[in-house]
Each structure stands twice: as structure tokens, then as C-alpha cells.
């Protein structure tokens, strides 16, 4: 990050173009990409939205800049403005220089000489970013043809094969002729990267490239991006909301809030010495997968400001616990932080926010909630939910009239676990591992199910009549992933919450009283009950969903990815609420989540699922600190941690390939095809993994940890291990 100022104080006022020219001269000569005073405005029905308000940065060759921010902070709009891909109605001003050449103001046609050539981009959603009707070969070759019209067909094909091999697609030559739908999401993102680096770009912009992917695949794709950067020497702009993803990759970080950079600096400055309360809050709001000590997360109250109105003071002031009257007096500019040359923060108090300030104190994080059950040993608590050998197999058939059974998809294959009073039990695994099917089986309440589900002492085997089912349902309620989709947009909050209460036959005054209680319980204002869901923010909507689940006083709440649709700062508030409710009401949770950091933070016990089976189960600290199954180890090593030094030196297990289709489930151990231990075993031992199914066995020396692996202490295959840099190289 450059420490130079944008406009000199001695310069007289100049016309826009001239000023921009001067701004360009101020930029360091060796920066590949230099952005000055970038502003983007959109016209909307309600007025002009000022989405990006003055972004400045310089990107040095081969370096990585991480732009971090929540939804609506203007980070994606910034990247699209640089690429010239905003709709023509957007008003863009400022200066974007690529190797000294001004890009803003160029026509679409003139921009085409740079796009895909020196300036390339990888987008968020790999599923929709490739044209479905062309082969990936055609799409890669197109990128080459546009900028090298004279290249021969054979040369282009050879280059395409080389690119596919570089991004790690097996048998690249044959895959050229494959269509995008024949690839998985992770593979498609690899193809996107191949297209982006086809012409050796100087600048590669990656806009949330791994947000739509599973953690193991995310680790693979980040690795590919790393390779791509090494091969091409491109400078990378990495846009993300996940502070963990950029911690290991970025050299510089720019934190954006409400369309403006609020803190910029070297990666270590930002992570270890944040000087802007928003950055501090963001860092405190992320749960850590590698920390066992339980501390509440830092919630940032309120919502980002509406960009229709120009803020008169600091845009973060309404949510900032340190805000004083001085903060409301004009928006603070980025100012250098004392002691660090390139570190700048937009906060008038940045000087007083040194390393010793405790973020938990600043943001008034609630104390860690303690449940009355925590003191009672697990064995003495009563069981709320018990699963005994639950199976769900889907027959796979072929044929139009006469269906032939050609196989079985074992979505859930012999699951047994129990949940005791007052505990949170989590199920983790990649998509396709059977987490959701497990939830659906628990909610099914049908005597014909394969296996037994006991809820509060009532078994599904007795659930023949509606009365028993109703009783079981009262014991167990659900909170859904997408808070917006889970609430009827035509119901007021009152109606949403009254519905379950009417169902159990409560009278009107009692319902009214209960709804007021619920609103207070989940931290919403009781006088908002007559509002509709669209008048609330995402976090508030999820609170309504939680209130609805709690309405009938269930013993067990099933949480299906309850925070994955929420922004980091909002997520922390909801997690704290869940923690608090579990303690106060003595609830039990069954949580399904892909984010292992959230799981570690909130759970007592955890089960790791792979292809319909539990491969490891036990107390969360046991499993996370001392994982025995290679899959658990791989999952944990794939989670990025918001700690740059740790990220740089961490040894990472990169699993090869995708989750196999349940149809091709191996005969022996399901995981053998991707297992890093299996790959390093001598053939004699491999045979055992291939033919025998490892049973779930207790780990030695631990009462609450079981895993299903024959060789938990086996050596890991070196091909699947990655360490990027040494400690010395990057130490501050």
C-alpha cells in the first residue's frame, strides 16, 4: 500500500482530467495497477446510491491485495469498475491506471484490449459463470483467440491443455471436449482460473472465488490461485468477506465499509494491530477453529448505513461503541497510524487504539453463557434425541416404463448418536455427505423408517397417529438456513409467532403475552410485532426464525446452517444469542454447519460425516484438537484461520478431487479414494482399507471420542501436503 497522498496540498484547483493526470504522476512508477479517487454512483428509484466513495490503492507486481468487507461495502463494485464491467448506467469517476495507462473513460471496445489480456477476473459463482452450451476447450481457446488472432489452432489447443493441467484438472486433453455441466463446482472454478490466466495477465482480480465452495474444495482452489500467481507473476486483488481466506495469501489488506476504505495496511498490521473499531470488531466477530478457550464473539450492533444519503460523520459511528460527538463531525479521512509506515486508518481515535485494547471490552461482548447443565456430567443428563442405526437408501432406477434398479444411493448409512439435555451436538461434512438427509429423517416421524429415532422418550416406531406425532413435534423445532425464505412475506411477525401457539391450542391473551416474551428473548423490540419480515435485516429475520422455533418451548432445536447466510458481524450476534438461549432455557441443539469455526465455538460434541457415515464423533475439543480420522484432519486443515503468521506456516492437507458420487462408494473404507494416509500406505496395508469397512471405535485414552479408521497414525502422503512459506521469510 502506498503512503503517498493523492493530491498535493500546494496544487491549485484543477479540472478533473488534469487533476487525474497529476494523480497518476504521484503514483509509484512500478505499480501495475493504481487506483485514485474511485467513485461509483448508481441511479435507483429512490435516488442516487453512492456505492463506492473514494477508493485509492496501488498494486505492486506479484503482490496480493485483499479487499475485505461485508455485503454492500462496495468491494465487488470496485472490482467491476476497474474491469469496466459495470452497467452503462453507473457513473464512474476517478482514475484507474494499468501500468500507467488510464482505463476509466475508455470505450467498451478499447477496454477489450486489456480485459482478459493484462487484466483478468475470476467470479464468485462457478456454476453460472461458464456458458453452458460450449465446451470448456472452446471457452479457453476463445480467450486466446481474442488477444492472439494469429495463433494457430494447434498452438491454442496445446496452450489450453497446458492451462488445464496447471490448474489441476486430470487428463486435460480429454476434458477439453467436456461441457461445463460435466464438471463439479470446484472443477469449474479451476476452469475459470485457467481462462483468467490464459494470456498471462499482470493483474488478476478474484471476487469471492471460493465463497460458493466446500471447505476442502476451497483449499484446493486457493492452492490453484496460488500456483496461478506463481506461474504468471500476476498481482492479485482478492475480494472476500472471510478474513481467514486472505490471511495467508495477502500482502496488503484494505478493509471497506459503506463504500470507503476505512483501514489499509500490511497484512500483519491489520490483523495484529487494528486501529479502526470496525476492523477490530470484524476480527473479534469471527470464531476461531484453532482456539479451544471459550470467549463470546464480538457482536457489531446495527446495520451498515444507507448509501443514498451522504454520511455527515464517520459512517461507522452509529454502530461504534467508542463513538463520541467528535465522530459525527465530518467523515474522517485515512490517516497514517503512528509507528507503522504504510498503515492507515480512518478513525479519529486510531492513536488511542493500540495493541493493548481488548476488543471484547470495547464492543461489550456478553459474558460466556453457562448452562445449569454444564456442571452435571453428561452421563447423568437425560437423553433428548437418540438415533439408532438410521438408514436412508434411495434406489436409483433407469427406464421409462419398466423401472430397473441399477444401484442404491446410501444417503444415510447406519447412523447412531444421542443428544443429552443442554448440549449442542453438531454434524459437519462436505455437501453430499448426508447431513441434510439425516435432519429430514429425524423430522420424518414415521414407523416405517429404517432405524429408530427417539425424541423425548417417544419413538418413531410408535408414531402411527397424528397425536403422537404432534407430541414429538413439540419437543423438536427447526431454524432454517435462509431466514428470508423461511418467513412468509405476507405474515406479520405477530402472525409468524402466533401460528405455532395457535396450533397447540393456546388462547389469545396467552399468545399475546408469549409473543412479547419471545421478542424480548431474542433481542427484538416487542413493538415491532406488526411489521413484515422485509422490514427487518437478515440477522433480525433469523432472530424471528429462532423465536418461532422457541414458541412452543421445545427441548431440542434443530439448526440447519443458521448463520451461513449472514454477514460476519451479524453472525456473531446470532451465535451469541444461540449460546445465551441454550444456557438460559436449558435447550439442546442439533446443529448442521459447514463452517467448522462456528461449530467449534458453539458445540459440545461433534460428528464428522462422510458419504452417509459418521467417521469421527466425540467431544468437540477432543476431536478438533486431536483429530484421529484422516478426513477430520483434512477438514480442519482446510479451514483458513484469521491469523496471517499461522496461516503462512501451517501445513495443509489438500484432498484430491471431489466427494465421490454415493453410487461409486468403495467397498471398504469410503474415504480410501481421497485419503492421504491410504495413499502413503504400503500395498499390503492398502488392501485392508480397500476390502474391510473400518468400524467406529473408541480412541485410546479418551472416553468421548470414536473414529473409524484402521491407520489413524499412518504417515500422510507428501503430495497432499502443502506449506507455502517459512516463518523467517515473512516475519514482521
Amino acid at each position: 500500500m502506498s503512503s503517498e497522498t493523492t493530491t498535493g496540498a500546494t496544487e491549485p484547483a484543477r479540472h478533473g482530467v488534469e487533476r487525474l493526470h497529476v494523480a497518476g504522476l504521484h503514483a509509484p512508477n512500478d505499480a501495475v495497477l493504481s487506483v485514485r479517487g474511485l467513485n461509483v454512483r448508481f441511479n435507483s428509484e429512490n435516488g442516487v446510491i453512492h456505492a463506492v466513495r473514494g477508493v485509492d490503492f496501488d498494486l505492486m507486481p506479484g503482490k496480493t491485495l485483499g479487499i475485505v468487507g461485508e455485503s454492500g461495502s462496495g468491494k465487488s463494485v470496485t472490482s467491476l469498475a476497474i474491469m469496466g464491467l459495470l452497467p452503462p448506467t453507473a457513473q464512474v469517476s476517478g482514475s484507474v491506471r494499468l501500468k500507467g495507462q488510464e482505463l476509466l473513460g475508455l470505450s467498451d471496445k478499447a477496454m477489450c484490449a486489456y480485459r482478459g489480456n493484462e487484466l483478468a477476473m475470476v467470479f464468485q459463482d462457478p456454476l453460472s459463470s461458464l456458458t453452458p452450451v460450449f465446451t470448456v476447450g472452446t471457452q479457453i481457446i476463445e480467450a486466446l483467440t481474442i488477444h492472439h488472432p494469429t495463433m494457430s489452432r494447434a498452438a491454442k489447443e496445446a496452450r489450453a491443455v497446458e492451462l488445464l493441467a496447471m490448474v489441476g484438472i486430470p487428463s486435460p486433453k480429454d476434458r477439453l471436449k467436456a461441457f461445463p455441466h460435466e464438471f463439479s463446482g470446484g472443477m469449474r472454478q479451476r476452469v475459470m482460473i485457467a481462462i483468467a490466466i490464459a494470456n498471462n495477465p499482470r493483474v488478476l482480480i478474484a471476487d469471492e472465488p471460493t465463497t460458493a465452495l466446500d471447505v476442502t474444495i476451497q483449499a484446493q482452489v486457493l492452492e490453484v490461485l496460488h500456483t496461478a500467481q506463481e506461474e504468471t507473476g500476476a498481482a492479485v486483488v482478492m475480494i472476500t468477506h472471510d478474513l481467514g481466506v486472505v490471511a495467508g495469501m495477502a500482502d496488503d489488506i484494505m478493509v471497506m465499509y459503506a463504500g470507503k476504505p476505512v483501514e489499509t495496511g500490511g497484512v500483519d498490521d491489520i490483523y495484529y494491530n487494528p486501529r479502526m473499531p470496525y476492523t477490530m470488531g470484524l476480527l473479534g466477530a469471527v470464531p476461531r477453529v484453532d482456539v479451544a478457550e471459550k470467549a463470546s464473539l464480538v457482536p457489531i450492533e446495527g446495520m451498515p448505513p444507507n448509501l443514498l444519503h451522504a454520511p455527515t460523520g464517520c459512517s461507522f459511528a452509529p454502530r461504534c461503541p467508542l463513538a463520541s460527538d467528535a465522530c459525527l463531525d465530518g467523515e474522517p479521512a485515512l490517516a497514517p497510524v503512528a509507528g507503522a509506515a504504510l498503515h492507515r486508518a480512518a478513525c479519529i481515535k486510531s492513536g488511542s487504539l493500540g495493541g493493548s485494547v481488548d476488543v471484547h471490552g470495547v464492543f461489550a461482548a456478553p459474558p460466556v453463557a453457562v448452562s445449569r447443565f454444564d456442571a452435571i456430567p453428561r452421563a447423568e443428563r437425560s437423553t433428548v434425541l437418540q438415533l439408532k442405526d438410521v438408514r436412508k437408501h434411495f434406489p436409483l432406477t433407469r427406464g421409462a416404463l419398466i423401472k430397473r434398479r441399477i444401484g442404491t444411493v446410501k444417503a444415510v448409512d447406519g447412523l447412531s448418536f444421542d443428544i443429552r439435555e443442554g448440549e449442542c451436538f453438531s454434524i459437519v461434512g462436505e455437501s453430499g455427505s448426508g447431513k441434510t438427509t439425516t435432519l429430514l429423517e429425524i423430522l420424518e416421524f414415521h414407523p416405517d423408517q429404517d432405524g429408530e429415532v427417539v425424541i423425548g422418550g417417544l419413538s418413531n416406531k410408535q408414531a402411527a397417529d397424528a397425536k403422537t406425532k404432534g407430541k414429538m413435534r413439540r419437543e423438536l423445532q427447526m431454524v432454517f438456513q435462509d431466514p428470508t425464505g423461511a418467513l412468509d412475506p405476507r405474515f406479520t411477525v405477530y402472525e409468524v409467532l402466533a401460528e405455532p401457539l395457535q396450533n397447540v391450542g393456546m388462547d389469545r391473551p396467552a399468545i399475546k403475552k408469549r409473543i412479547m416474551e419471545l421478542m424480548k428473548l431474542v433481542g427484538l423490540q416487542p413493538d415491532h410485532v406488526n411489521r413484515f419480515p422485509n422490514q427487518f435485516s437478515g440477522g433480525q429475520r433469523q432472530r424471528i426464525g429462532i423465536a418461532r422455533a422457541l414458541a412452543v418451548n421445545p427441548k431440542l432445536v434443530v439448526l440447519d446452517e443458521p448463520v451461513s447466510a449472514l454477514d460476519v458481524s451479524v453472525q456473531a450476534g446470532v451465535i451469541n444469542l444461540l449460546d445465551h438461549l441454550r444456557a438460559e432455557l436449558g435447550l439442546s441443539y442439533l446443529l448442521v454447519a459447514h463452517d467448522l469455526s462456528v461449530v467449534r465455538h458453539i458445540s459440545n460434541r461433534v460428528a464428522v460425516m462422510y458419504l452417509g457415515k459418521i467417521v469421527e464423533i466425540g467431544a468437540v475439543d477432543r476431536v478438533f484438537d486431536n483429530p484421529r480420522h484422516p478426513y477430520t484432519r483434512a477438514l480442519l486443515s482446510a479451514i483458513p484461520v484469521p491469523d496471517p503468521q499461522l496461516e503462512r506456516t501451517r501445513e495443509r492437507i489438500i484432498l484430491q478431487g471431489d466427494l465421490p458420487s454415493p453410487l461409486q462408494a468403495p467397498k471398504g473404507c469410503n474415504f480410501a479414494t481421497r485419503c492421504p494416509v491410504f495413499a502413503a500406505l504400503p500395498p499390503a496395508k492398502q488392501e485392508k482399507c480397500r476390502t474391510l469397512e473400518p468400524p467406529l471405535e473408541a480412541a485410546t485414552g479418551s472416553r468421548d471420542q470414536q473414529f473409524a479408521c484402521f491407520y489413524p497414525d499412518g504417515e500422510l502422503d507428501e503430495d497432499m501436503l502443502v506449506v507455502h512459506e517459512t516463518v523467517d521469510h515473512h516475519a514482521p
Partner: protein, 327 residues
């Protein structure tokens, strides 16, 4: 691919057989040509009527099942679709009519498709500009105005042109002028007869395609893969033309194939107004004339055209969309 088409073909043959048979039973039990015969002057005796019907294979005394077996045997063994109550042979009549219908509609269908899709693309590329608003408004108007009224308006326009020029340039009805010598004179006459119905049907028809193509293309113009194409270095228009167009054509290709049978079998108004006696008007006439065999034949023809349309739709979709390509 061939195997797949053959499989679909067999399914449709079975379907055509079932609809046609059901149609025959319905016709034979509800249409009574003998009743119409009795209105002739001089009124024939019932014996004469029955005799005449029996000679044409329309014996009213036989049970529907017996007549069905006779009719089906005739088709299967001799490809003979029977006779009308007036004695005409369905085969001969049908051949003439299909040829007339094909000539009337083929040019219009092709023009409708090409113009509709092209205008759809053109207006989508200029969304909310004057051109788009004019074209799309016209298309909605063409939707709303009943086809016969639009045909009459085109006829009136052609007559106006004729009058203002003072010569008969266009024929507004009929297929051809009888008695012309073969050669250029006949060709010119054919064109003069062709222009008015073709223009009328095309003007009314393209609106639907224009609206559909515009909508589907607009759905794809801002798709992520178009953005990817632009990020590779294509201009917006190039990206739309190379990437969005083909994807947006998938649903249009399907609808095209299915509207072809509707035009062929349902062009009743056009045939009547322009006095081109094709299959559409024949099917209506057959019912009013209590003509069992003709009514069934037009029904069979409609089913065949529908099946062809459906296979064409499958084929077209397979061609443009690799995701449905059969392994």
C-alpha cells in the same frame, strides 16, 4: 441419436394410431351423412340413400366397430382413406388440400420465424430505446387483434393499392388465375396471388416470436457467463451474440416446432378469407357435411404434423443444447 429418434418415432406412431382411432369412433357415432342426403330435391327414398352410402363404404346400418374394421383394413392394405358422402375420394382430395395448405403457409412460417427472432434479438439489444418500444408494442398489438380482422385489414390495404395504381397488382383471394400459359406469365400470376396472404399471416405471426426471443435473450444478457465472456475481452455486443444468443434460443427452438402444427392444422381463417381451400377449412367443412372419413383424415394429419413438430423440437433442442445430448 438415431436410436433415440427412432424410439420417439415409435411412441408417436402409437399415439397417432390411438388418437385417430378414437377420432374415428367419435365421428362415426356422431356424424350422420344420411340425414343430409334426405334434404336433396327430389328427396331420395331411404333405400336409395342407404344404397348410395353403402356403395361409398359409409353403410349406416353397420355397427361402428364393423365400420372401423373396414376403414382400418382399407388404410392398412390399400392406403385407402375412404370416400366422402358426395363420392369424392379422400386420398385425392387430401393430396390437393395438403399441397395448397403447404404452399399457403410454408413461406409465411419461415418469414415469421426469421423476422420474429431477428426482431427479438434487435429489440433486446436496444432494450427500452425507441426501436424496442415500437417493435414490442407492435407485437403486443398483433397478439391482441384477432387474426381474421388483421387479414381483412391487409386485404383492404392491397385493394387500396390496386385502386390507387389503377391496375390489379395483387390478388386478394384465390390461388391462381385459370387458363394462363405456363411460363413467366404464370409465375407472375402466382406471385400476385401469394403476396397478400403471405404478408398478412407473417405480420400477425411474428409478434409471438419477437416477444419470446426478446424476453429469453434479456434473461441471459446479464447472465454471469456473459460477464465472463466480457472479462475475456469481448465487447458487450460480441459477448451477447456469441454466448447469450444460443442459450436464449433453446426455449424458442422448442416453441417453434410446436407452433408449426398449430399453424398448419388451424389455419382455418386464413384459408377461408383468402379463398385457399386447404386442410384447415376442409376439416371444418367435413364436420358440417357430416363427412366421417374426411374429418378423421384431417385429424390424423394434425396428429402426424404434431408428432413431426415434437420430434423437430427434440432435434432442435439437442442441436443447440449439449446438456440434453443423448449419450
Amino acid at each position: 441419436m438415431l436410436k433415440y429418434l427412432a424410439k420417439r418415432g415409435i411412441t408417436y406412431v402409437v399415439m397417432i394410431f390411438l388418437t385417430t382411432s378414437a377420432g374415428y369412433f367419435l365421428a362415426v357415432s356422431s356424424l350422420k351423412p344420411a340425414l343430409l342426403e334426405q334434404e336433396r330435391i327430389p328427396r331420395p327414398t331411404p333405400e336409395q340413400v342407404a344404397n348410395s352410402m353403402r356403395l361409398k363404404g359409409l353403410d349406416p346400418d353397420l355397427s361402428p366397430w364393423e365400420r372401423y374394421v373396414d376403414w382400418l383394413t382399407g388404410i392398412v392394405t390399400r392406403w385407402d382413406w375412404g370416400r366422402s358422402p358426395n363420392g369424392a375420394y379422400i386420398n385425392a382430395e387430401f393430396g390437393d388440400r395438403v399441397w395448397i395448405s403447404t404452399r399457403l403457409f410454408l413461406a409465411s412460417i419461415i418469414l415469421t420465424l426469421v423476422i420474429g427472432v431477428a426482431l427479438g434479438v434487435y429489440s433486446a439489444a436496444r432494450q427500452y430505446k425507441v426501436q424496442d418500444r415500437v417493435i414490442t408494442s407492435y407485437s403486443y398489438l398483433a397478439y391482441i387483434v384477432p387474426a381474421p380482422i388483421a387479414y381483412f385489414l391487409v386485404q383492404l390495404g392491397a385493394i387500396n393499392i390496386n385502386e390507387s395504381v389503377g391496375d390489379r397488382i395483387f390478388f386478394v383471394t384465390g390461388i391462381s388465375t385459370p387458363g394462363l400459359a405456363p411460363g413467366w406469365a404464370q409465375f407472375g400470376d402466382m406471385l400476385a396471388h401469394y403476396v397478400v396472404p403471405t404478408v398478412a399471416i407473417t405480420l400477425v405471426g411474428w409478434g409471438a416470436y419477437q416477444i419470446a426471443q426478446r424476453q429469453y435473450l434479456l434473461d441471459n444478457v446479464n447472465a454471469d457467463f456473459v460477464r465472463t465472456a466480457r472479462a475475456k475481452g469481448l465487447t458487450r455486443n460480441q459477448a451477447i451474440a456469441r454466448h447469450a444468443l444460443r442459450v436464449s434460443f433453446i426455449p424458442v427452438a422448442q416453441s417453434i416446432a410446436f407452433t408449426i402444427p398449430a399453424i398448419f392444422a388451424g389455419g382455418f381463417f386464413a384459408e377461408k378469407i383468402f379463398a385457399w381451400p386447404g386442410v384447415g377449412s376442409w376439416s371444418i367443412d367435413a364436420i358440417s357435411l357430416q363427412d366421417v372419413n374426411a374429418a378423421t383424415a384431417t385429424l390424423a394429419y394434425g396428429s402426424v404434423i404434431f408428432a413431426l413438430g415434437a420430434i423437430l423440437a427434440d432435434f432442435a433442442t439437442t442441436l443447440v443444447d449439449p446438456r440434453v445430448r443423448v449419450q
